[in-house]
Symmetry: D3
Subunit: 273 residues, 6 copies
């Protein structure tokens, strides 16, 4: 018997380049969505995929993931026996043989043996982070309704560099960076939560969403903020946001509505004719 | 981490008069259902709206709400931080500027500052009560199946007057009134539960459903019962059910099937052409 | 082989009184919707039921039907062999034994032998009229969008008295009455079509929809118009609209959205618990 | 431009033996349903599969097909250019390499070159017949509703032997055999239609459905009828129904409800876990 | 308040003989599925029915159930007050008067008073067993994906004879029988879990699934295994699997995909026309 | 009465730049899909939107549209009274005030008064073309199934320059260009149809789809083909495909599966939380 701790998770996937999209999407909708729903429909209450908006100019300096963000709401920790070798499921998921290449990840052996390690010019392994069901900190725009206009969501997931404690990092983020962001007129909405410690699906420490009208106001805001917020003493990366892109800091740009809310909308791989 | 305590809730809404129905329904289906599902689909397992049947003659003496009853089943207490000012949600719900007028509620400031207060000739603020998942007391008709005929449900929500303890009130309800109701040949089904203390969304104390064939047999039964059950000593309201309508006692008349089971049936605001 | 002539139809049903609603709705959702979809899903592209709004004061003077309006879009004439005794269908529809009483219709034999005949104080038999797919005449408000506010639709179906030709009647309706209605500031939208001659499912001749903000502006408009438009010479009924209610003139008050778009939304008779 | 002639078709499929069911059903739901819907959703209004009930004792003497019956309703003739080599579709359907063996059909070359030819002890090639939208002849039980009890449907498809004209055959079927069948107390429902000449998807000439309570009353009825109706002079097969099973006469036993109404119910290949 | 312990259950139903299928399926889809969903949709996250594949030769020696297996995933124990007489639900489920006969169960009184008791030649009462959400032991084929080919699932539910402790029985099953099964080349997949003690819905102790390509490889495997694994000393039944069929050992043969995943796919009782 | 001529249409939309995507998608899913379905669900059998894949390098030289392609299947010509001012519909569609700017179209007045006119560096007005239900010419890859791998679809819509007859242009396209394209090893699939003359929704003359594995093989193929196929004598544009991009030749790059098959998948504007 367990306590009840429903959770939300975000998963970010890249493609190596735009040319991989047909193969990547074929895996997603012809294989993975049905595989996933078969597996976890009894304990996942929402399973939705958002297609990343095109990476804005300079987006690469912010560790931008270019394919999809997948959001789950879990009634249970789905890794009951992580490490035991058994998942307790009738079927394994299907992966095409070139899945790791298509999604710009290291070879399987490397993935298994090393810690998660992404680099700007190299691999961008899948990012997987669990969060509380509700946003912990609501820093700006809590009254925004869906009637208030388009939303350009910048979802960021990050950790502080080795040697910096989560407390120290969060102190800077919440008390120095966040107030400066809140002051930007272009920023419409700002919420953030700590990444949960269990289940531990990676080394990231915090998730934050910053919403703008569109990519132009995001660019304007980013250009402003780097003149306002100085590099913290502990930072090992010189440029704003002072966290190494694709390694300590990743993000993706999203609409407020998923491309597909699979449990509600999936109807099989039905194509053009 | 939390214990697991799934719950059911009922919400009763009025319209000021029939003329408000087009505006009220437009808010419901063009705005509110999608707002709500966006917000709570990950932890609400049923979200259904029942349209109130026309108020029968004398229905107003029983605090009858004339628009809709909305039923939710919750996996969690949805008010994790009530009072903190933050709801932890990306979006707020949209309300039209005349929502309080349309739904016959006091102005916003009054609503916020005062305790819930309805009156027969004045406001009928929204009633919101949480109940256990299962009916606690099954007083009559437990073998009824859907094949047994039409059901005219009288859903009542009530509290005892100030100064009367819940125990004293319930003792009268369960041991004096209920047996007399059970004895009525017109009554087909009778179930009741205590309103839960947490979450506390109002001051009501008990929910009861009494089912009849139709409004005529309800009227007949009501006419009979008031000759049988005398006013309890603690009552401050003289007429049956000896609880002040719209303040201590409210109710609504429903079919056994919702107008819409939104999570299953909502498909967007699709209209006539 | 046949020409292609897709059509729309409207059906108006009454209940004898409000007390019949549980039985009437039980027939609709527990029996009829599935019966109907089983039968005509292959050639009906939309099948939707709108619940009548409460009859406004004086609504009875306009032949107001008080229960539901059902709208179908047909790819074919569904009466291929009317009169032959065979419908060519595997199943007949189920009707409860008291269906005619509940829906305020004459006994079966009378229904079968007589022409359709409704009266204000007597029976209100089912009204069934076929119309073209598109509205023929768009008299006011063609730019209205769903964003423009709530819609209170007055759907009317009527015929001219015996001895008045359709042309004569329509001439008055389109050239005398309609312009006066269009001039009313309360009227937001006005469209009308001739009832089709085939299939012939009754004696009504014209359908018109007039939209208002709500029932109060409808009342105001009706009060005005009867002072403006005089009784036509051929009329046999003295009060506006100069057509005998429940016999020559019927109507119903509707929202712009159906209660249920069955082919999309029906999921079986799933009830409260 | 074309005339409008919506149609219904039935397709009967066998499996070689029960052991083929996992492979056959995998083809159906993992591949074929989505392939089919991708292809014809724009002009098929119902696409449903009924699983054959177990073949009753002696069922094999009536050409019983043991797997599925698939029913389509078509708005158009889907073979616009049959024989031209082009189907005008973006995708071809997928067939597993052992499809013909699994479904007890002759090898592809034989199928292509020969006329349809089934035998009792050999192949049972797919049966495909187009019918009018509505049953042409309603011979018994036209008032049956879904409330009247379970239905055990015997769907038969047949042709008269070579050398017997359709008229001659139908004369016997409609005027000699049918009245005798109608007289059987076990028979609840009896409808029949001619197979359409266009599209020509096989050599069968007539479809008939006979409904019973269950397979036992079917057996009883069959045992009786063969003593009542004598072999027609033109028959080349000695036993009732005097048409060679699996060649001139095939049938299948069905419920009144499909296993899946694909356009409404298909949600992808979602499995156990 | 309760701890959170989501569970899975399997229910096996028989029909007396094939002739009962129309009545049995009519109960299932015309009555029971909607009854069930009305009742437990708020706390059941998956509700799916698998139709039993035809019983293979000798299947009867393994206690084969011949109609349906129904799988539920429960967020709560649905028997909160078992024995109290009250289920806390608005409606009871509907059962046709011949339900027990059709499903080959003892008369109601016997069912109520006795322990569960099935016999090979007599009754086969409903089997109902609760299991953990995830399979406890994954003994063979954990890498199998849905792309790997058809799956013929043998779902077995069993208990050890009276006088044999669960530990002793499981020791034989897991350490003697299971390794021999795993060694069979025909076996593709093998998972097993203990039946949960609460809720206690019968006396069965273990569930196991063994997957093969089809019934022929199952037969081959069964023929082999009985020569390899000897009867345990405690067994009271002489033939493999050394547990009395229909009393200590039952099973059913299934596809990997349900006939209907009701919460996702049910749309009412929509029939042929 | 009309003949029956079901049709397919494609609509191509641009955004001015990537920054417009949140506003454009908000219009699509918050307003337009429901507006559209309300209007045409009775006579549109498929309504699907495909998101354009990122424009490949040099894609702009081929008139690449960068946002969405919307596909409809129509049972009727939806412009019954084009030019009459009346559309015969209850509601008009909603357009945000900046719709034309967002979608890179000329101002409304210019759109209304001029012929369709796009330019490479200026406006890219909406492209709307009707085609037959089935592809007319199947030039390569007719046996391709969905199992054969990912598909990168290049949908092109074009017309020949003024002064060149359709026959002359098609002769070059079908007899000179197409055979050279078919010979390219990178090309997997090639189908084409004439644009229908009625309804006339623009000046384009032909639609063609060419499928590749991905954008890299498309680029390779394009690089090759321009060395193989010379400019036709009548061409007014020098570079391959010898038709002026965004004026005579437009295209878009698509997956084989729509982002949303709206009639099947739309569930309202349900967002992140």
């Amino acid at each position: 018997m367990k306590n009840f701790n429903p959770m939300r998770s975000v998963i970010l996937n890249c493609v190596r380049d735009d040319s991989d999209l047909p193969a990547a999407y074929r895996w997603l909708y012809k294989h993975h969505v049905a595989d996933s729903m078969s597996q976890f429909a009894p304990y996942v209450t929402k399973y939705a995929t958002y297609r990343a908006l095109p990476t804005p100019p300079d987006g690469i300096d912010f560790g931008t993931y270019n394919w999809i963000m997948t959001e789950h709401y879990w009634l249970i920790n789905p890794f009951p026996a992580m490490g035991s070798g058994s998942r307790g499921l009738a079927f394994s998921e299907y992966w095409p043989s070139d899945f790791l290449e298509i999604t710009n990840q290291p070879p399987a052996e490397e993935l298994r043996n090393c810690q998660w390690q992404g680099t700007k010019d190299g691999y961008h392994p899948i990012v997987f982070a669990f969060m509380p069901m509700f946003w912990e900190d609501d820093l700006k725009g809590s009254h925004r309704t869906i009637e208030d206009g388009p939303n350009f969501r910048w979802l960021t997931v990050f950790k502080y560099p080795e040697g910096v404690s989560r407390e120290e990092g969060d102190d800077w983020f919440l008390n120095t960076l966040a107030p400066a962001l809140v002051a930007l007129p272009e920023l419409n909405r700002f919420v953030t939560s700590k990444v949960l410690d269990a289940p531990k699906t990676g080394s990231f420490q915090r998730v934050a969403e910053l919403w703008f009208d569109n990519s132009k106001t995001w660019q304007k805001a980013i250009a402003e903020i780097q003149n306002i917020v100085a590099k913290p003493s502990w930072a090992k990366y010189d440029k704003f946001p002072y966290l190494e892109p694709y390694n300590d800091f990743v993000g993706t740009f999203l609409l407020d509505r998923p491309e597909s809310d699979h449990l509600q909308q999936f109807r099989g791989y039905v194509t053009t004719r």
